[in-house]
């Protein structure tokens, strides 16, 4: 696929925009996974608190 430099730059900007959205979106999802998992306490921890 032989594009000009200008055409490639336009594609590159689109890739960059979606790429950053994708990276932030994925890590946001991992953030929620982490927050959710952190609520799981081991049984012995909850027994000690009781």
């Amino acid at each position: 696929m032989n594009n000009t430099i200008a055409q490639n730059l336009v594609i590159g900007l689109e890739v960059s925009a979606w790429g950053l959205v994708g990276v932030f979106g994925a890590l946001l999802l991992f953030f929620f996974i982490m927050i959710g998992l952190d609520k799981i306490k081991e049984k012995d921890d909850t027994d000690k608190q009781a």
């Binding site: 696929m1 594009n3 430099i5 490639n8 730059l9 594609i11 590159g12 900007l13 689109e14 890739v15 960059s16 979606w18 790429g19 950053l20 994708g22 990276v23 932030f24 979106g25 994925a26 890590l27 946001l28 999802l29 991992f30 953030f31 996974i33 982490m34 927050i35 998992l37 952190d38 799981i40 306490k41 081991e42 921890d45």
Partner: protein, 393 residues
């Protein structure tokens, strides 16, 4: 070599200066590659710059440029040599990068990240360098796949760089240049990052203190995390399953608590064995004709640009967040979001200590640094997906 010397003298005697010049230039290139290999070995031994990779790469670069050697391909019969066999069966099919990811995953402890999950976003912000460098590469005339692979040097993650470059089926010499750039700049993080951080922050910002809560993280959480992350990443980008899956598999082996021997093997034997063979195999692709090109010099330059933009991305993101936060973040922590673990975290803590010996931001830096390892793999996967679609793969 004797035939070459004879041919050189015969060419001179016959007044055929073109042939004489060609032979002379090829020997000059050979000597230059010997020098480059020697420099890499010197950097590994004397300066301790990523010796596990740079020494084997340097040695590979030397032996592959010995005239008429058959270690990659026999020049007379065309038969594949041992390093040609290794390259085809371990690099081209992505075996070695994936195995190294298993090893890296077994070395990662996500506990600091669980204790400070907001640091995850610095692992995203510090991947800015990948996309910025990709744009620079495109502006310089590289095609989409080449620019994407060059950009991934900014992942500060050797296996991801090799994986992406191979996925796009780039020329082996370009893959070698990308690999050398990635590992060289990773080892130069203590030199590259501090000036960038100082340029983008004020003294007052560098003195910001941060709280850290050392909560206990349950084993169940640490076991479920790699599984859920792999599934989530796979749904976002199926191309990421190999990389993220291998990384998280290694981490699961570590965290499950019942595979101590396998975890130990992954962290040590597997990591060392693959690293040893990976380095020399990549080095043997650095033939003079393929490596000594303008493209190689551009790639090495853009590697530096990638790391500078990575650092800037993390720092600027922290400063942006500080506009809205009551409990400010020390912007230096953003720079630790690159994947060069644990070097970047140590560099940032050292800088913080230089400003104020009582300021301890190591745990936040480590959390950001660990996040960078996740972020770099995800960013590499994004490049695979998006450039792959754009290039019609």
């Amino acid at each position: 070599m004797i035939q070459d010397v004879q041919a050189l003298f015969q060419a001179f005697a016959a007044g055929n200066m073109d042939i004489a010049a060609d032979i002379g230039i090829s020997y000059l290139k050979m000597l230059l590659m010997f020098l480059i290999g020697a420099v890499l070995i010197w950097l590994a031994i004397k300066k301790d710059y990523e010796p596990a990779l740079l020494l084997p790469i340097g040695f590979g670069a030397i032996i592959t440029n010995i005239p008429f050697t058959s270690i990659v391909t026999d020049p007379h019969t065309g038969e594949q040599g041992i390093f040609g066999f290794l390259y085809q069966n371990t690099i081209t099919n992505e075996l070695f990068p994936v195995l190294i990811f298993i090893a890296i995953g077994a070395m990662i402890d996500f506990t600091p990240l669980f204790q400070s999950p907001s640091m995850l976003f610095f692992g995203a912000a510090a991947q800015l360098g990948i996309f910025a460098t990709m744009l620079v590469a495109l502006a310089l005339g590289f095609d989409l796949k080449e620019a994407g692979a060059i950009g991934v040097i900014g992942a500060a993650d050797g296996p991801t760089s090799i994986y992406v470059a191979n996925y796009f089926k780039l020329d082996p010499a370009m893959i070698a240049a990308i690999t050398v750039a990635a590992y060289s700049y990773m080892s130069l993080v203590p030199i590259i990052q501090p000036p960038v951080v100082r340029a983008l922050t004020t003294k007052k910002e560098r003195l910001i203190r941060m709280d850290f809560h050392q909560n206990k993280v349950s084993k169940t959480a640490k076991v479920l995390f790699p599984i859920l992350v792999t599934i989530a990443a796979g749904f976002i980008a199926k191309e990421s399953v190999a990389l993220v899956g291998a990384l998280m598999f290694g981490n699961l082996i570590r965290e499950c608590g019942v595979l101590g021997r396998l975890s130990e093997t992954a962290q040590n034997t597997l990591a060392n064995l693959v690293t040893l063979l990976l380095g020399i195999t990549i080095g043997t692709t650095m033939t003079a004709d393929a490596f000594l090109t303008g493209k190689t010099i551009l790639i090495m330059t853009m590697g530096l640009i990638a790391f500078v933009f990575d650092t800037a991305g993390g720092v600027l993101f922290a400063k942006f967040l500080n506009l809205f936060l009551k409990n400010k973040i020390n912007p230096m922590v953003g720079a630790a979001g690159i994947s060069a673990f644990p070097m970047s975290a140590r560099v940032i803590q050292k800088m913080a200590k230089e400003e104020d010996p009582t300021n301890f931001i190591l745990m936040q830096s480590i959390a950001a640094n660990v996040s960078g390892q996740l972020g770099s793999v995800v960013a590499g996967s994004m490049i695979l997906v998006l450039i792959g679609k754009a290039a019609g793969l």
